[in-house]
């Protein structure tokens, strides 16, 4: 599978329909790379004309902004906006809810206006358009799956039902946690917490969330955010349950069945 890079496509005179924003985690984090590849597989299978920015992509600056460092954010954002403007990008999809939120909600005030989709939104559209055909006999029969709402897709941007619709598409038996949808509990990574130690307290937030996951007796957690995946995996490992519960991104679950 060849990953199309925007600069190369443009040199060939092509202009892809949508830009896939990979993000820092999707580019560099081993675990998140798997999600990136799974999502690329989905895009290929559906025959979407897309491209990535490759080395022209720059961190969105999301974490820096939420940490309070507006200078670093503005430098990152304005640089990205310039690149996106250069390619006249109108539509972006990303597998990271933090990139999603910042591109969608933070960039307009700086002059960057795009239609931004989270990858679950695009996947759902592809299902609706009949562009994704799942193999029969999935591996989900009899498996209990729980779904973890990321804050930035869920509470911040109000997307609760689309990821669940994908799980329904996969015939998964969804068991909701007590705190779900608008009451969902954070994994503990947002607001730049990912990049520092926790403040003193009784326990880490991801442990609190993992305990809730375990109380559902689910075999699998479906997630939609690279940072949630890291946090939940750490939690599962801490509880020594890595043989019983696995954490997967929705894109991986879909890609496995293509």
């Amino acid at each position: 599978m060849q990953i199309p890079v925007l600069a190369e496509l443009v040199a060939e005179g092509k202009s892809p329909e949508i830009l896939f924003w990979v993000g820092c985690a999707g580019s560099f984090d081993n675990r998140a790379q798997k999600v990136t590849r799974a999502f690329c597989k989905i895009l290929h299978e559906a025959g979407i004309s897309y491209a990535i920015l490759g080395n022209e992509e720059h961190c969105t600056g999301e974490a820096a902004r939420r940490a309070g460092n507006e200078f670093v954010f503005q430098m990152a954002a304005l640089q990205n906006i310039q690149v996106l403007e250069g390619y006249d990008i109108k539509k972006i999809v990303t597998a990271c809810p933090h990139c999603f939120n910042t591109l969608k909600n933070d960039y307009p005030a700086l002059g960057g206006h795009y239609e931004v989709l989270h990858h679950t939104q695009l996947i759902q559209q592809l299902f609706l358009q009949g562009r994704l055909r799942l193999k029969e006999g999935g591996s989900f029969k009899g498996k209990r799956i729980t779904y973890h709402d990321s804050c930035y897709l869920g509470r911040v941007n109000g997307v609760y039902e689309i990821p669940r619709a994908i799980l329904a598409e996969l015939d998964a038996e969804l068991v909701e946690m007590k705190r779900s949808k608008s009451n969902g509990l954070c994994c503990g990574a947002g607001g730049a917490q990912m990049f520092k130690e926790d403040e003193p307290g009784d326990k880490r937030i991801n442990i609190e969330r993992t305990e809730e996951v375990l109380s559902t007796n689910a075999h699998m957690i479906a997630a939609n955010c690279p940072f949630c995946i890291t946090m939940l995996q750490d939690g599962i490992k801490f509880k020594e349950k890595q043989d019983d519960v696995i954490v997967k991104d929705l894109a991986e679950l879909v890609a496995e069945r293509l």
């Binding site: 599978m1 060849q2 990953i3 820092c24 580019s27 560099f28 590849r37 690329c40 990535i52 490759g54 080395n55 992509e57 720059h58 961190c59 974490a63 820096a64 902004r65 939420r66 940490a67 309070g68 460092n69 507006e70 200078f71 670093v72 503005q74 430098m75 990152a76 304005l78 640089q79 310039q82 939120n101 910042t102 909600n105 307009p108 005030a109 700086l110 804050c151 930035y152 509470r155 911040v156 941007n157 009451n183 509990l185 954070c186 503990g188 990574a189 947002g190 607001g191 917490q193 990049f195 520092k196 403040e199 003193p200 307290g201 009784d202 326990k203 880490r204 937030i205 442990i207 609190e208």
Partner: protein, 451 residues
Amino acid sequence: MLQPLLFMVIVAVASLTAFRSFRRIYRNIHLGKPEAIVGDVTTRLKNVLLVAFGQKKMFKQWLPAVLHLFIYVAFVITQIELGGIFIDGITGNHRVLASYLGGIYTVIIGFIEVLSVLALVATITFLARRNLLKIPRFIKPELDGWPRLDANLILFGEIILIVGIFCMNGADVVLQKIQPDHYPDTGFLAISGWLGPFLFGGLSEGTLVAIERFGWWLHLLTVLAFVNYLPYSKHLHIMLAFPNVYLSRLKPRGEMDNMPVIMNEVKSMMGLVEESENTTDGAEMPEFGAKDVFDLSWKTILEAYTCTECGRCTEACPANITGKKLSPRKIMMDIRDRAEEIGQRIEVNHTPFINPEKGGDTLTAENYADGKSLFDYISREEIHACTTCNACVEACPVMINPVVPILELRRYEILTEAAGPHEWVPMFTSVENSGAVWQMPVARDAWTQEV
């Protein structure tokens, strides 16, 4: 003639003192920075209807929502009866409305009475929830002292008010039979119709008149005391919830306020704008973010005064749930306390707090300097613990957003003080220098080789 005079003097004095307090609050709110309220009126009115009047967000927890609704509706409806008290108080009449409205009066007062009983049930339940059942959100440390007393006082006040209503109506019902000329027929009142004769039947006429007058004055004085008490209480929300909900931000939750000064600075660094467009001349580095209420939007201070101290935000906060010091409720309470502190000093013109560098003879928001800031109320540890998950925003029944001030404090710490958690520094440096949140030895597109 004595009674109307006494009535008018008491009402005038109470109104005057209340007016002074509310004026102070208005000024304190405007200690904050101006912020234009943008967005469409229809959405705002819809919010007021659903969230403020309809208490939509309360119904996430149905038991407290229903009980609270009893007290709230009873309180609003009772104002009709209070209207009657005012008319009688000024004119020296007795229940003129009863003679004018006839059957409607019976229905309205009966309705008020039923609601008052429901409110009494709710009040007693609330007292139990706070003091006996010790619901977790009511026993957090930020409620120690005045906030806890405040919550209980108001519940007792509600009981006194209800006692007043039933003394007044109950004795009246009995008196209607004895002195029909003085006590116009109210029809059969839903509760007092039987409770009155049950409690007060057979008492002497003089005692009945005394009980009726006692109830009447108790009702009036409790309400006047309440109005004067509001400015010092979390119960201010019964007034401010409406403007606060109307004015609440309509921007997406995920959008942080832009900082145009920094944006323009960076644009000129990147050669995106002409140097001349850049207004900062480097002579005086402006302060960024917020270290005190002066630096917060007035809207945030309004939110602080609107806060009901209910703790729904704190109950949902992942940091607080896992034992961190952060409590979004405390953040809002601290902002109010600080605004109060400053407002009171300014009101009495406490001249030692005039910043000599700024000058002036009277203490104002501009020259105020008491050597303190919001950071004396809110610790670094608290603001560092926030995951910006917005659970607090989602939970708040009166549309308060504690994340906005938390992030403004972070901005001050990072941009103005160049402080903050040292673990963040590598992330900042890395984003700035290598365009990723981590310093990586490989190119950003290296992963494409392994597909």
